[in-house]
Symmetry: C2
Subunit: 283 residues, 2 copies
Amino acid sequence: MSSSNWFTEAHEASGSSIGFRTRALLHSEQTPFQHIEIHDTTDWGRLMVIDGCVMLTGRDNFLYHEMMTHPALFTHARVKRAVIIGGGDCGTLREVLRHGEVEQVTQVDIDERVTRLSEQYFPELCESNDDPRAELRFEDGVRYMAECAADSVDLIIVDSTDPVGPAEGLFNADFYASCHKALRHGGLLVQQSESPLAHLDLIKSMRGAMRTAGFDALRTLPFPQPCYPTGWWSCTMARKGGDLSGFRERGAATKGFATRYYNADIHRAALALPEFMRQALGE
Amino acid sequence: MSSSNWFTEAHEASGSSIGFRTRALLHSEQTPFQHIEIHDTTDWGRLMVIDGCVMLTGRDNFLYHEMMTHPALFTHARVKRAVIIGGGDCGTLREVLRHGEVEQVTQVDIDERVTRLSEQYFPELCESNDDPRAELRFEDGVRYMAECAADSVDLIIVDSTDPVGPAEGLFNADFYASCHKALRHGGLLVQQSESPLAHLDLIKSMRGAMRTAGFDALRTLPFPQPCYPTGWWSCTMARKGGDLSGFRERGAATKGFATRYYNADIHRAALALPEFMRQALGE
């Protein structure tokens, strides 16, 4: 194994690493916010790396993007207005727009270069960027949510990098309080919540901050994600008013669009917590 | 990252790698069958490597061992006699023996050194080796199953390495026919069946061989497994007579022993197939 032909992310916090065999470095750039690289891999399509951390590959991003979106959209009765904080690769935006009931989606990523590079290197993720329902903004998501009109949004998806660097402000009670205020009654907040195995303390503190901010019901949904540390990831869903015990099973079973991971059975399955998580989260 | 302080397995077939930060190489040995290494890691406990492939770590083997055993034992009405082919680290044996109804378990691993090293470096996995119901044999599992009395076993668990090298003979219709013959009516075969993402063709051909051997019902259950390629793994369950549509939910919900991953909700969840698997497997 020649190290020059592999991109490897060593995840210090968990003492483990994940690597991909690469063919070429296609792009490398320091933006005002972060360092972005695009690699071509032998088996995983294109690979986007931000500040040394794998963001996505062409082969497995469907797992993350489908699980960050469809469980929430089939839980809420009818999402009209959605906001995505982060998500500059536009894969989450594309999945939200598959839902015909959605009238407007605002994507707020601080770094326009992520989106421009995704348009160039991951065009399949950007195929809905021109949808008239989509609005792409490039600004600070924390400020955007703080200034967002009260009771104006049905769904907020926090599709961010890890809670260090530019995304640090997206994992605390102040930010969640802004989200809570912006949501209508019954509205949902979904946040990527790292690895069930490596970041259980983070998941617990995130959930604590969400409760502090006023959210009534919480669910953490695990899913496989080979390119992230431990290969196992999660999103956490929080609801303003109402509970999170069920979802629109019939809607999910008869959805009029294709998915590769998500289906009604998988949605139900993602609501099951492994025994160690059940105990740690007190559910 | 100093490469001398990491053990990294580059998985050629999927063009990806997984590594663990190590403190020390505790043991290295060429047995008549394979090369075995034991490393001490910074965050994953002990690490066993066979022929360059990660077999298990102290931190995440509970996922694999629980999913190779409890779904089958809570599917069968009452397993009296079980056989484990492979499984030399004894973690699968320990989990099977948690079930009070089990009267006898025979573990058949070709390489005694795996068990002796596990006793030394993973004593927690071997804590049931002295159970009077356990029989440890060190011989060829293919021959053992070929010579096994007909209609004598309720559960066969194939806890093997990848289908190359010593384990190659454990992934074909001849072997499955021996298993089928040895099983009583309603008996179950469970085999580790690699990564849903990286080895879907293997899973399909394995399932085809199981059907050829006479098995009536099949289920492939995915589960997270950070230390194996793609961090996502599966087992495939096959039944001689009867179906695999349900399990003893009440038994699973009131089991009298501790688990860290498995519970009744997780069992139900593991029966859900991702959309791409559902389509590929025709279920």
